[in-house]
């Protein structure tokens, strides 16, 4: 039977198991929206296309399912770019469908035409321009396959309007074969054997786990591996939650704002076991002095990550979950493990020493201004850690990483690679839609939040009980901090004291606005916010403007050269 292209498109989505899409209508996608009018799909109407992409991203990070976006051509498409680049840097599975002007008009500078395939080529895992309705089902299937397999990432599919309006009798492919795309899931047994040997011979091992563990759903395997051998563990920002934040072997995050303990341990380790992490510059500090005494094992599904930044001794290309399973199998018997653990005693003592010397800390004067870290700690206490936390980018992100403990994967959603301000709030919406009954907290700065504040309308429309906690210091805090440290306190354009009254703003949108100006009010506000179940709450915490994030490794310095409180 012949069907219209837009219906075939929706059929494709349903065949992929899609139940939720984030979108915004427009001329080129009108045929899709006409079918959506009575399609069995949950369509979330956003207020800005960038919001749609971050929501799909938050949905994907929280649930593990690919996020799906539908937007129109031209500006609709270009508005998705920041969101796509964000997902690309953090390897988030996502498929973005953009409308395009009819094929006959492509290249003619038609109304709302943009070469979105050209624009997004460097920030997608792959992208497509659909040239005929016949190839649409195959392309949609390939798009989902590519987005969700191997190292995941965003895929964009550009669909001209005439393709959506054509009629055809098409077959949906059951299987697809991509000759040139075959990710390697199994680690090489020889390399795994070598890795085990290196680990068992080490006296000062450290596990450095990243977002790849979460993407691979391998946190159980990671925990088994680490606890069997008793190896001190750090994670990247993206890896928070991959290993329980409250576990005694957890040293906290490493890197520029990592803990003293984690950074010292990595600097002194003789065997660094990198799992699903990519040696980002915010992690390594001065690259020549990163882990100078270590043999490095690197498990990653993407061969390009291996020896890109840091020369690796034992690379293992494969899916983290599979490789960890093999590594666990390779651990010698109880006698070997006992001896290994005995050899580690001195190392553990040293790690504990570091742990106790410079704990993450801040000083809260009971009569003084609210410290942002205090707010995070109170949020942690109020939820007992049972929440999905999203962050914006900057100081709020670092404090959320440092002072909230994440025991489970997919509970800390942050833009790690691209560092996108405006990510956290829409990502919280996506997470809440994926998990309607979970507590979702968006930790925000007053700067970042305003980059996608319009999505308050979306959150109100869908009655999402998201808790937004603004650490309101009336400055662009992280940039201000750098100006304080490195630019002679010349606070150039970082003061944003002209801001809306966030409480009134929330109310204007139909959300709840609460404010805390004093320490006593913090817990009260949080308690009240937690009791609201039918709409978003915006908590405006007036915090100390001059609080800095510590420790800090200045750019270009090795990890052990930290500025401490």
């Amino acid at each position: 039977m012949k069907k219209i292209g837009a219906q075939i498109f929706i059929d494709c989505l349903l065949k992929e198991g899609v139940d939720t899409i984030f979108g915004f209508p427009g001329g080129a996608v009108l045929p899709i929206y006409d079918v959506l009018y009575d399609a069995p799909l949950n369509h979330i109407l956003v207020r800005h296309e960038q919001g749609a992409v971050h929501m799909a991203d938050g949905y994907a990070r929280a649930s593990g399912k690919p996020g799906v976006v539908v937007v129109t051509s031209g500006p609709g498409a270009t508005n998705t770019v920041t969101g796509i680049a964000t997902a690309y840097m953090d390897s988030i599975p996502m498929v973005v469908f953009t409308g395009q002007v009819p094929t006959a008009l492509i290249g003619n500078d038609a109304f709302q035409e943009a070469d979105i395939v050209g624009i997004t080529r460097p920030c997608t895992k792959h992208n497509y321009l659909v040239k005929s309705l016949e190839e649409l089902p195959r392309i949609v299937k390939e798009a989902f396959y590519i987005a969700t397999t191997g190292r995941p990432g965003p895929v964009l599919v550009d669909i001209p309007k005439d393709v959506l309006m054509a009629f055809a009798d098409v077959k949906h492919p059951e299987k697809i074969t991509l000759e040139s795309y075959q990710p390697n899931y199994k680690g090489h047994p020889g390399q795994i054997k070598k890795a085990i040997d290196m680990i068992m011979a080490s006296k000062r091992p450290v596990v450095y786990a990243g977002g790849g563990v979460i993407l691979s759903n391998a946190s159980d395997e990671l925990q088994t591996f680490i606890t069997k051998l008793g190896i001190p563990t750090t994670t990247t920002l993206m890896g928070l939650g991959a290993f329980p934040g409250t576990h005694p072997l957890f040293m906290g995050m490493l890197g520029m704002h990592g803990t003293y303990c984690a950074n010292m341990a990595v600097t002194n380790t003789d065997c660094l076991i990198a799992i699903g992490a990519r040696f980002d510059d915010r992690v390594t500090g001065k690259i020549d002095e990163f882990a100078p005494f270590a043999g490095i094992i690197h498990v990653d599904i993407d061969p390009t990550s291996i020896s890109k930044n840091v020369k690796v001794d034992i690379p293992i290309v494969g899916d983290v979950k599979n490789v960890l399973k093999e590594l666990i199998k390779g651990i010698p018997g109880p006698k070997g493990v006992k001896e290994f653990k005995k050899n580690l005693e001195e190392w553990h003592a040293q790690v504990t020493g570091w742990e106790n010397t410079h704990k993450l800390s801040y000083k809260q004067d009971p009569k003084g201004k609210i410290k942002p870290q205090y707010v995070i700690e109170k949020l942690y206490e109020a939820t007992k850690g049972d929440a999905i936390v999203t962050t914006e980018v900057g100081q709020n992100q670092m404090w959320a990483a440092q002072f909230f403990k994440y025991d489970k994967a997919r509970t800390f959603l942050t833009s790690g690679g691209l560092g996108t301000m405006g990510f956290g709030f829409p990502a919280a919406i996506g997470a809440q839609i994926a998990f309607p009954n979970k507590t979702v907290i968006g930790i925000a700065g007053d700067g970042s939040l305003q980059m996608n504040i319009q999505e308050l309308a979306t959150a109100v429309q869908y009655k999402l009980p998201i808790k937004i906690a603004i650490l309101n210091n009336m400055v662009l805090g992280m940039v201000r901090q750098w100006q304080e440290f490195f630019y002679d306190k010349r606070y150039s354009h970082t003061c944003i004291s002209v801001a809306p009254d966030f409480v009134k703003l929330a109310e204007a949108y139909g959300a709840v606005g609460l404010r805390a100006k004093t320490i006593e009010e913090v817990e009260k506000v949080i308690k009240e916010a937690m009791s609201i179940k039918d709409r978003p709450v915006l908590m405006d915490f007036k915090v100390d403007q001059f609080e800095d994030v510590y420790p800090m490794v200045p750019t270009g310095q090795p990890l052990n050269k930290m500025l401490l409180v």
């Binding site: 395939v117 050209g118 080529r121 460097p122 895992k125 792959h126 321009l129 590519i146 991509l178 000759e179 040139s180 795309y181 993407d302 061969p303 390009t304 291996i306 020896s307 890109k308």
Partner: protein, 161 residues
């Protein structure tokens, strides 16, 4: 070091731009590039000459392999292979110099493909060295224009079974 990399890609629109975008986006340099269909019309071959230390070449190789449209990447540098380029050289000629130019053309087994009262256009194929050598010999006569293809390369068949 200079590397000649041969890439089999699916013959689709936009693939060239993916490859060149990868090079420009990551700061790799393309010295020459040639693209054409293979025996299988669905597959094209690109031959790229690039430069970099081992680390850069390793990244280029891996990044190319990561592209969905790339089927196979071969670095010919450490392999027995044949390389060819083609150049068209327009050289000034006059009654006194013609004989000498023709003898150079003959020595290099090149050929004259266009003649005008004041110039010869010479076609030469060969590896870079040969083309450079002939260019240098023709230079004193006055080269008006030179157009070169990118390099193409093919692995030599094994000599013994």
């Amino acid at each position: 070091m200079r590397h000649t990399i041969s890439i089999l890609v699916s013959n689709e629109f936009g693939v060239l731009s993916r490859i060149s975008g990868l090079f420009s986006g990551r700061g790799f340099n393309i010295e020459s590039l040639s693209v054409a269909e293979t025996l299988d019309a669905k597959i094209s071959r690109m031959t790229i000459v690039t430069r970099g230390d081992d680390k850069v070449i390793e990244q280029i190789n891996k990044q190319l392999n990561k592209l969905i449209n790339v089927i196979k990447v071969t670095d010919f540098t450490d392999e027995e292979h044949i390389e060819r380029e083609l150049a068209l050289i327009k050289v000034t000629s006059n009654p006194e110099s013609r004989a000498e130019i023709l003898s150079i053309v003959d020595i290099f087994r090149a050929k004259v493909v266009d003649v005008s009262p004041r110039s010869y256009t010479v076609e030469i194929t060969g590896d870079e060295e040969k083309i450079n050598a002939m260019t240098e010999l023709l230079r004193p006569f006055g080269i008006k224009e030179i157009v070169k293809t990118g390099r193409i390369a093919m692995a030599r068949s094994p000599k013994q079974k």
